[in-house]
């Protein structure tokens, strides 16, 4: 049971971070379907940093450096989306899809290059970071507390405040709802959209890092992040682009995902004799069903996906 809670919380943390990332991007008016790719790149940045960190550094420094690396790699990668969508009016779905393909490809090519450079026989795409990862964990009895759970909670609260209580949030949402209105009161729509995309890159990258450090101590980048970026999109929609709802949805989806890892510990579930694949599938099936009910009166930002062109008014 404790294990279920632990896994639920850590998966929920990932989903919260990434879904909030999507939320910021979409509130600014840019659909970010490339979260999956951004997660991979964020994870890559973090994993490589952990790999090369010297042992014996204080835990706090390790956490800081690794998080920074993920956040920055995520942001740089998200700029690809930002530039294409904001500056060049590219189709956001198309570019997002490209990001999803590009992320894992870059990760595999880089990791393999690094591994091969180290030893010619090593052609795997795996990064090992067992030691450094321990910095994130605090054992409380048999419960393994992960600092990222706290970080995700803090970011959730911060997002709520930023979106609804600050000047930045007000302006960001205005750009996603009615960019012409924002422009007419002197808000730089392009800047705000870049800000939205960069925040989504930062949070997506961080989410990627949390995901690969959740259970294991090495990561094979050929696997990408196994659809978590897409799951986060579902969380965002299910949460109707609102931070608090996103938090609750993430807990729900995190639990389903966790079940597939630990259902063996529950006699009732084992007795059902369902293959573990079913639990993997459940969040997707549920989101599909939920989408049917929420899509008719969706609160999606009105101008999302529409490139803003100053010339057209």
């Amino acid at each position: 049971m404790l294990l279920l809670i632990q896994y639920t919380l850590i998966f929920a943390s990932v989903l919260i971070l990434v879904a909030l990332g999507g939320c910021f991007s979409e509130h600014s008016g840019v659909i970010n379907i490339g979260l999956e790719g951004i997660m991979v790149i964020g994870a890559l940045g973090g994993a490589l940093t952990m790999r090369y960190l010297t042992a014996g550094m204080p835990a706090f420094v390790v956490i800081l450096l690794v998080v920074l690396a993920s956040v920055i790699s995520g942001m740089i990668f998200s700029l690809l989306l930002g530039v294409a969508a904001i500056k060049f009016n590219a189709d956001q779905t198309l570019v997002g899809t490209a990001l999803n393909l590009l992320g894992p490809a870059i990760a595999v090519v880089l990791v393999r290059a690094v591994n091969t450079a180290e030893s010619v026989d090593n052609v795997s795409s795996t990064v090992v970071y067992g030691q450094a990862k321990k910095a994130f964990l605090v054992n409380m009895g048999s419960f393994e507390f992960n600092w990222f759970m706290l970080i995700a909670l803090l970011i959730l609260i911060a997002s709520y405040i930023v979106l609804y209580k600050t000047r930045f949030g007000l302006r960001l949402c205005a750009c996603g709802e009615h960019p012409q209105a924002a422009d007419s009161v002197g808000i730089n729509v392009y800047k705000m959209r870049y800000a939205g995309v960069l925040i989504s890159g930062a949070l997506g990258g961080l989410g990627g890092l949390v995901y690969i450090t959740a259970g294991v101590s090495e990561w094979k980048f050929e696997n990408g992040v196994a659809g978590f970026g897409f799951l986060a999109l579902a969380v965002m929609i299910f949460g109707q682009w609102r931070p608090i709802n996103i938090g609750l949805t993430a807990l729900l989806f995190g639990m389903f995902r966790a079940l597939s890892n630990v259902y063996m510990g529950f006699d009732a579930l084992v007795a059902l004799k369902l293959p573990s694949t079913i639990y993997n599938m459940l969040p997707y099936i549920i989101s599909l069903i939920v989408l049917v009910f929420v899509s008719k009166k969706s609160r999606a930002p009105k101008a999302e996906g529409v490139p803003y062109d100053k010339g057209l008014r």
Partner: protein, 377 residues
């Protein structure tokens, strides 16, 4: 200026103005920039072998000095390209109706599951398997279409969900027909030869490459059929009108909901057929522990847009994408890995997003220039 020169000038001008011509230029630019970026990445990883590696990618099967071997591997590239072509047709067909079929990947998976299961479990002949692949994938496409038409569910999101659901379902289904010791499905050639697509002598053209089958012809025929359907028929007229302005389509009495569902069904069927003509050659077995959706469907997006979302263009772009993907396996493994090709093709999709902008800018520039000329007269 002599009249001949004038004629030539206006011909060139007409060409530059022509939408198709602009698309081709845009696509070529994407390819060149994409390859260049790939080259830079190779340089960064290891400057010594970069030139050789990029040539290896471009040469693909020409890597083999013997003509026979080259021909054989050319055949293999073609087999994969034909599956890719079907996926790209699936994407572009939906795109014409204004739908982004990111679900081609999942529809392809379902198609693969259906045809392999029918072939391995029920011992069905190839046409039965192919039909099953098409129908199963079409149904999955129809789900996205129906959700879009009746519940306003964004097709991109529903397709993504279905991609993963499809992957897990097929993994479960095909676990029943896998080899006991490996995670792979049992080969059709040993279980049910009748499920293999007939070669009708095509294999002989490619140094007895037994994987070259009628699938190749089917894909090209499908591309032409889709082109005719879109450009010459009443149905195509309706679909494109729905894609360009669904309100106008509704206003003049087109059944837009039915058309959306039908479109996604056809798109799904195309992707399913793609899986059929690939897995029914026996060239690959399904790995039932896959944790990510096969890239074929996503590469279909690349091919569709690189081909200017034109079915005939897609024939060439699909081949090109597959050519460099296969070429990736020939890079020097002591320095690089084959995924460099994935990187290049992913980057090419990314660049395709800029083509529209490029066209708008080009036309604006041409307008301005014409205006100046007009003023001078």
């Amino acid at each position: 200026m002599s009249t001949e020169q004038k004629k030539e000038g206006s011909l060139l001008k007409k060409c530059i103005r022509n939408n198709g011509f602009q698309t081709i230029i845009g696509s070529l630019l994407c390819i060149i920039i994409g390859l260049f970026i790939g080259y830079i990445v190779l340089l960064v990883i290891n400057p010594q072998g970069a030139g050789k590696a990029i040539t290896a990618i471009l040469k693909n099967f020409l890597y083999y000095p013997s003509a026979a071997a080259a021909k054989k591997y050319f055949g293999t590239t073609l087999v994969k390209a034909s599956a890719l072509l079907m996926c790209s047709l699936s994407v572009l067909f939906a795109w014409k109706v204004g739908l982004f079929n990111i679900g081609a990947a999942g529809q392809y998976v379902i198609g693969a599951g259906a045809c392999l299961y029918c072939g391995l479990k029920f011992g069905m002949p190839w046409y039965g398997c192919l039909f099953a692949a098409m129908i199963a994938a079409a149904l999955v496409g129809a789900i996205s279409g129906a959700l879009k038409a009746y519940f306003n569910v964004n097709e991109v999101i529903s397709c993504i969900m279905l991609n993963w659901i499809g992957l897990y379902v097929v993994n479960m289904l095909l676990s029943n027909v896998k080899e006991q010791t490996t995670p792979y499905t049992r080969p059709l050639s040993s279980v049910n030869k009748s499920a293999l697509l007939p070669n009708i002598g095509l294999d002989k053209l490619f140094s007895k490459n037994e994987f070259v089958t009628i699938g190749l012809l089917l894909a090209v025929v499908a591309a032409i059929a889709i082109w005719i359907l879109l450009e010459k028929t009443k149905f195509g007229y309706e679909l494109k009108a729905t894609g360009l302005n669904k309100n106008a389509a509704k206003y003049c009495g087109m059944r837009e909901k039915t058309n959306i569902i039908l479109t996604m069904m056809i798109a799904g069927g195309l992707a399913g057929l793609g899986a059929g003509i690939f897995y029914l050659t026996g060239i690959e077995q399904w790995m039932v522990q896959q944790t990510s959706v096969p890239a074929m469907g996503f590469n279909g997006i690349a091919a569709a847009f690189l081909g200017g979302s034109n079915p005939i263009g897609a024939i060439f772009s699909s081949y090109f994408i597959q050519h460099i993907t296969s070429g990736g396996t020939y890079v020097d493994k002591t320095m690089y890995c084959s995924q460099i090709s994935d990187l290049i093709s992913a980057f090419i999709i990314y660049l395709c997003g800029f083509v529209f902008f490029f066209k708008v800018r080009l036309n604006r520039y041409l307008d301005k220039r014409d205006e100046k000329k007009g003023g001078a007269k």
